[in-house]
Amino acid sequence: MRRKNNIPKKDEMADYIIIGNSAAGLAAADSIRKLDKAGKVMVLTEENYPNYSKPMITYFLAKTVSLDKVYFKDKKFYRDNNIDIRLNTRVKSVDTAGMFLTVESGRIFYFKKLLIASGGKPIVPRIRVIGTGTIESSRSGKDKTFDFMDGTNYRDIGGIFTLTTLDDAIKIRDYIEKNKIKEISILGGGLIGLKAAEAFLETGFDINIIELANRILAATFDQQASGIIEKKIKSKGSNIYKNNTIEEIYITDGKISGYRLKDSEKRGCRLLISAVGVSPDTGFISGGKLKINRGIVVDDYMRTSGKNIYAAGDVVEGPDMLRGEKRNIAIWPLAVRQGGTAGINMAGGNEKYSGGFFMNSVEILQIPSISMGLTNAEEGEDKNIEVFKDFNPKKNMYKKVVMKENRIIGVILVGNIERAGIYAGLIRNQIDISSVKENISKEDFGIIHLPADYKKHLVVGEGIEV
């Protein structure tokens, strides 16, 4: 055990250490500085970029946004808030008791307060590989033959990528240019898959989406909603394979050349993006130190089970106000809110995180769509679930509002997303809308259609305290 007081020069010391340099991490840094101007704040990131907005990488791919526009905090952020940013510093292990962590390079960092905001790692399914020819592995330098591809070795196969970091996006862009790719296959029709699809469709590629479930964006869209999007994508000549997955991948000269689907249909493919999902990046926390289910379990103050150790963002399993249980909701707004709350509490503040719920906004081929809360419930499933639907496929419009005990718990808006935030407010504040239920169906649903007290709160600041 190292002696605490005479810390060897090589090691480092900081009041606050933040693992992760994205939404949650920087939101925490910001709010720490609000309360504690003096404390030493250090941010560690395994990536090589000061800060960039992860959701923007698909816009970068779609070339609507140039590389220098990908940052969501301006360059001077770190200097203004005197934050010590350490790039290419991947954390290897965390000693919760000794309150220090070790990075890949072996250096040790002592902390008074630690925030784990490492976000999520892409999941790569285990797929059988049938290789003709060897796979040149960049790291080991030897030819390597595989029989299976998974999260650890997919990088060794040319043409197979995940899309969660800026590096991924840059590599994909270079690969497309180098190999003159025209058609791209995306494994997984979820959020990231569709975001990627959005980018490639904008720039004229043909895409094939392979989705395990019976519809794309299954997590948040129901049949009708995803139907509209699917129809639009197909109209662009792209294919969507539902209830399907890739059984085998074929390799030629170290690069992917095709794959066979579950229903034994074979396709040529020279670029495959694995977008089946993301899971919290908790590898560096050795077992048992912190309570971890799917993500690091935190309480309402973003505290983990470890003393002085907080967690926020996609890595976390936080309170889901709609399900009344802890869940991993990996979305940007919650990451920022959790990071801010954690920062305040780390700096001695006392802010409660009131929980969040899933929400997502994506525009695909000029069809904007917003979904929030529990959108897949159907009438009758549970006796007090009520669902309002206004499905107009011709105009690519769809509105679904799920209500439980007269409180909205889920909304899907496709086509007309005007004033969607009003529903978000209703869900978050669990407003009883029984008095104005008939207004929900109105196309121009606005504040004037809200229950009187909540309307008063929004319009004149009186009425109920929210």
Binding site: R337, G340, G356, M359, S361, A420, G421, I448, V459
Partner: protein
């Protein structure tokens, strides 16, 4: 998650609902203010590009009110913005949307509980977000409300007014 309209020390736009007559002059003057020519006839007749008002009048029967961004203290839109376009100015407290940073992901529209952020249909970016007419002494919607339903007052001052008018009502 708490939304308090505005910090405690900044002047904000408040409305006395009972005196909004639904004439929509606030919308018209807001469009003029955000037009290129800033001249009412020129703006409406020549600038064919639809200039969106940043204030929105809702009306059913004789109930009506004008609503615009509240420049919330911990603004959900600033949190949800993935491109850093939506920023809250530290000193004035005004939340503004930087048009060329905005990528049109509509997350702000998704989270704003007042529904006062609206899409620019032609620009594909956020086109309607109240900027509190920082370069004007009084926001043009307040200045041109014929019935003084819109007020531009400090929070405490307005609190006092609200309290006073409330007591007066009760007395």
């Amino acid at each position: 998650m708490q939304e308090r309209p505005g910090d405690d020390c900044m002047k904000r736009i408040y409305i006395q609902e009972e005196y909004c007559i639904g004439c929509r002059l606030c919308e018209i003057y807001c469009q003029v203010k955000h037009s290129k020519s800033k001249k009412i006839i020129k703006a409406f007749k020549e600038e064919l590009v639809d200039i969106m008002p940043r204030v929105l009048v809702e009306e059913i029967g004789y109930n009506s009110f004008a609503i615009q961004c509240r420049h919330c203290a911990d603004a959900p839109c600033v949190e949800a913005c993935i491109s850093g376009a939506m920023q809250k100015n530290k000193n004035t407290g005004v939340v503004t949307c930087d048009e060329d940073k905005c990528v049109g992901c509509w997350s702000c529209i998704m989270v704003c509980p007042y529904g006062v952020i609206r899409r620019g249909l032609s620009s594909g970016k956020i086109a309607s977000k109240c900027d509190l007419c920082v370069d004007e002494e009084i926001p043009v919607c307040v200045k041109n409300c014929p019935n003084e339903a819109l007020k531009f007052i400090e929070k405490d001052e307005d609190k006092k007014d609200m309290m006073r008018s409330k007591n007066e009502k009760k007395k």
